[in-house]
Symmetry: C2
């Protein structure tokens, strides 16, 4: 009755003590962890927008990315991943192979984060691949990181490095879940956001939500080697180019975290970073001040307003 | 920074005591109801497959259907609706108006079921509208209706009437949530499924999951007037036609419930139906027997195997 693909998928869903009813029913029934809040995020990815199948991009990579960007949202809330559901509309031609590839990309990432894929919806059409993943996480009451609680005097701390993800890194997203959970256990974090659209754009969103401003130190922004390489390649080809710093501030799809912390906590966290469980380097990139907007302090100490930039969808900047 | 649409949507999300963090953060944070399981379902709908925008079908109707088909899944589990997230990829042209229309269709249905829309993801492309809704519900431990627990001797009870939904009813889905919750409070239900793809196909799935067979009474199948009208129109136009009964058994998108109940409970529920909270008529349409497959008993009492039929997607019958 149902196709090989659905049967193939159902056979691969591991038994999980969180599931009260076996996979394959009208809906999944989960035992939620006692005394915790439920955290929910969703992201839809489409061929030609968030990835381009066939240009060196495999269904496995799409499956990985579709789950990873959602895990990045859970990380930005300091939430522990619990479960996910996956809805797809597959191209009719080659749909089964693409569906299996998506699973092969999703499943190891889910397993690595101790989460279970509890259900989904499979469809097909004569159109591009569309994947929507919804993740469920959990967090202790009152402990979710919000984006609206930054305070003047706090420092802005970033995980990892920024810019040039379009060179390929955007398909190999490493969500900062373990780092977020370790930080949440050890240090006060007043506000957090993940950088999906661009460092400057997502920072501006967090500042707007908090009713505060931020001053970034140009010298302190951790620039990814990909941003340097892309700028150099543009220059060598005589193309108009952005500086590596511009790329770090506006390229987007870095899926790093921006954390707003009291100064002592920020310095302690940075000092402890670089070894597990805070394996990723942490960097203080700026400070929160009273006011609105975001600013950049150049190496000479001159502070100028910084226009938020980022990768946004074509519907006038929707995300 | 973000467009008018996202701002417009965020302004419309009502405050809800189940939300610990205001809408608009990286993820939603929900207080789950104490002592209950979490029930999760997802359905993705695409223009040209599940609806055809512009042919008398409005974005409001799509929004309604996208949530309603998920509510039907919760009803099939006897779960109480709690929350939903909505991911869309909008056509670039007219995307804002379509996005608002989707909300206008979704929001009243969510409110009517006491659920809150807690988040989403908005994207745009030069392609057809795609909508994915994920619903969260709750149910007491061990009380979810499964599809794998029908027993020989049980009766098969159906809500409502079947066939001909393509005439327009498939856009105005009335999920049987209130009826499911009322039944679950009052009567034992051994197994349940909602009819998304077709009465015979979904019944066959439930029987296969339970390791049982079912015999339907041809005379007892409640046939929707739409099925009669479509058959008559086909005949009048000289087109090949299905009988109204064939349509009731195989058309799909009825979003009625098939309930497997002990005989006494089934008869009591049928007797109590037709008035709120069991407003929809219930009908005994057959019985569960040992064996496998599904069968049809004709008015003369002759029992023949029934080939499961239904509306399935083009990828070889994926759903």
């Amino acid at each position: 009755l149902e196709t090989a693909l659905v049967d193939w998928l159902l056979r691969r869903i591991p038994l999980d003590p969180r599931l009260e009813v076996p996979p394959g029913d009208d809906a999944a029934v989960l035992r939620p962890p006692a005394g915790r809040r439920t955290v929910v995020a969703v992201d839809m990815l489409a061929d030609g927008i968030d990835f381009v199948l066939g240009t060196g991009c495999t269904p496995q990579q799409v499956g990985h990315k579709a789950l990873a960007v959602n895990l990045s949202d859970l990380a930005a809330m300091a939430a522990r991943p619990e479960a996910a559901v996956v809805a797809v509309t597959l191209p009719t031609s080659d749909g089964e192979a693409i569906g299996r590839g998506l699973w092969e990309g999703l499943a190891p990432l889910a397993a690595a984060h101790g989460m279970t894929i509890v259900g989904g919806d499979t469809n097909a059409w004569d159109g591009p691949l569309v994947v929507s993943v919804t993740v469920l996480g959990s967090v202790a009451p009152g402990r979710a990181w919000r984006r609206d609680a930054a305070r003047p005097g706090d420092l802005v701390v970033a995980t990892g490095r920024f810019g040039g993800s379009i060179a390929g890194r955007h398909l190999a997203v490493v969500p900062r879940v373990a780092e977020a959970l370790a930080l949440a256990d050890r240090h006060p974090v007043h506000a957090a956001i993940d950088v999906s659209d661009g460092l400057s754009l997502d920072l501006a969103r967090m500042m707007a939500a908090s009713g505060t401003a931020a001053v970034l130190d140009a010298d302190a922004i951790p620039i990814h080697p990909d941003a340097v390489a892309l700028a150099a390649a543009d220059a060598a080809a005589g193309r108009p180019t952005a500086t590596p710093l511009d790329r770090a501030l506006g390229d987007g799809e870095d899926f790093e975290l921006l954390l707003v912390m009291p100064p002592d906590a920020a310095r302690a966290a940075v000092a402890a970073s670089g070894v597990a469980p805070l394996a990723v380097p942490l960097t203080v990139i700026g400070e929160v001040v009273a006011g609105q907007g975001i600013f950049l302090r150049d190496p000479a100490g001159v502070v100028r307003p910084l226009e938020p930039r980022g990768w946004v969808h074509r519907l006038g900047g929707l995300r």
